[in-house]
Symmetry: C2
Subunit: 250 residues, 2 copies
DNA sequence: TGAATACGTTATGTATACAATAACTCGGAG
DNA sequence: CTCCGAGTTATTGTATACATAACGTATTCA
């Protein structure tokens, strides 16, 4: 064995996967760029076998694309790919909300959602919102969406939503950060929070159709805001996740 | 190198993946059963590295589940998991139909869909439908759904639908075969065909909401029929794909 | 001078050896 | 008789060596 430093706390495969994902999302690896296994071995510290397993997982996750002649490259996305992904996720979350409403949710299960809601309310009281508060918002928002998804009690649906969220631009942190650069950010967040409130209310009152509708509207709001953010390209360098957008790199 | 027979026409990884998937779907490997790598090496003819890559892919595909202590087991599904997956797929196909309607589709692009429709009409003229005709129907139906999905022109959505369809019970062949055992099969297929007709009409007339609604109804029909099929357990041994249902194995 | 082919280099696909961990069994003690 | 523990075995995780295919470069021929 070489002088390789082996971290036994997590598996080499997971370590490599996280490291490579970071490199992709941070923009170290550009869209369309081929990923060299040897290079990945050096940067991640794992050997080729776990690196290859990580590459396969990232391909299935949608961040990488297999090259026919062999190997993998960083996938490139169009602006429409991204807005479609957001709408897709909203559609799935709408289904989750409807399932939750139709199948019934106890007050105890709604408790953490309401706590999340209250915490976000607290943050939004700041005008204008600080960068730190925005960072907290991103975390809380992600937590809210994850909890809501769980309420569906449908493992296949939860799994699929996780997949849809794996695409970074569709993840809360992705598009919420995009919105943070906008002057309209505060107003947007207030509307989004209103959606959160309505979906909980609809679930409590077992109104499946209303719960579904508001989550879809929530996604449409996000799509509109993404478009706005992409028009204001001046702020886009703040958004590493959006480095994946093909057209932005040209 | 041992006396191993190496088939160089396809990659060992793909070969192993196909072989293992077959074993799972055919019921050779039962739900909850642990998959031994060594055993998989023997049955697939590939070595451990490609076998492991195949296992990772099948896990991402949803057929396998990682065991915390290491290795993989065949995933087990409840009846609700399956009906949820069908509804999930219907929801995604509804979105695809809406995208197609809203974004517009040329007559030329609709041509293959209409050919598919006509071919199915031809099959359904037989009363009662033969087993061979049913087999053809499964193929044609899968083709119709695939073509419809393509019309959305949304790579992320197409990808996600493929994923949702990877779960065999949600795939056309899976649940359509389940329906084939039912005495009501013929009537069901006629209604399903009517849905196909409506969605094409809606797309032609650029009625997004109607296109989406009919695909969702299409899925709800499938869910109802799956429930019917599961009540008639006498026919279920004909349906290897449904061997994945947890409760059916008890 | 340009194009095509052959050769060399590099990177991926595959196989296997080695290491570490988890499960199982057997034995002993309470 | 049961429960706990140590040893052993089997299986997975990791590393690396080898095979093969693709790409780039250089040289030669037209």
């Amino acid at each position: 064995m070489a002088e390789r430093e082996v971290d036994r706390s997590v598996s080499q495969t997971v370590k490599a996967q996280l490291a490579l994902r970071d490199q992709i999302l941070s923009g170290s690896l550009r869209p369309g760029e081929r990923i060299s296994e040897l290079q990945a071995v050096e940067t991640t510290g794992a050997s080729r076998t776990p690196v290859r397993m990580a590459l396969v997982r990232l391909e299935e996750e949608g961040l990488l694309e297999a090259i026919p002649s062999g190997g993998f490259m960083v996938k490139a996305f169009s602006e429409r790919d991204i807005s479609d992904s957001i709408e897709l996720r909203g559609t799935l979350e709408g289904l989750a909300a409807r399932f939750a409403a139709e199948r019934g949710v106890s007050a105890r299960e709604l408790e953490p959602l309401k706590e999340c809601l209250a915490a976000i309310d607290e943050l939004l009281r700041q005008v204008p919102i600080s960068v730190d508060a925005f960072s907290s918002y991103v975390t809380l928002n992600a937590r809210f969406h994850a909890l809501l998804t769980e309420l569906s009690r449908s493992p296949p649906l939860i799994r699929q939503i996780d997949r849809a969220s794996a695409l970074p631009f569709a993840s809360p942190s992705g598009f919420v950060m995009a919105q943070s650069a906008l002057p309209e950010a505060q107003q947007i967040l207030i509307i989004a929070q209103e959606h959160h409130r309505v979906v909980i209310d609809a679930i409590e009152n077992r109104e499946g159709a209303r719960a579904e509708a508001v989550m879809r509207e929530h996604a449409r709001l996000a799509v509109r805001n993404l478009r706005l953010a992409l028009r204001n390209r001046t702020h886009l360098d703040l958004l590493p996740a959006l480095a994946l957008i093909k057209s932005a790199t040209d």
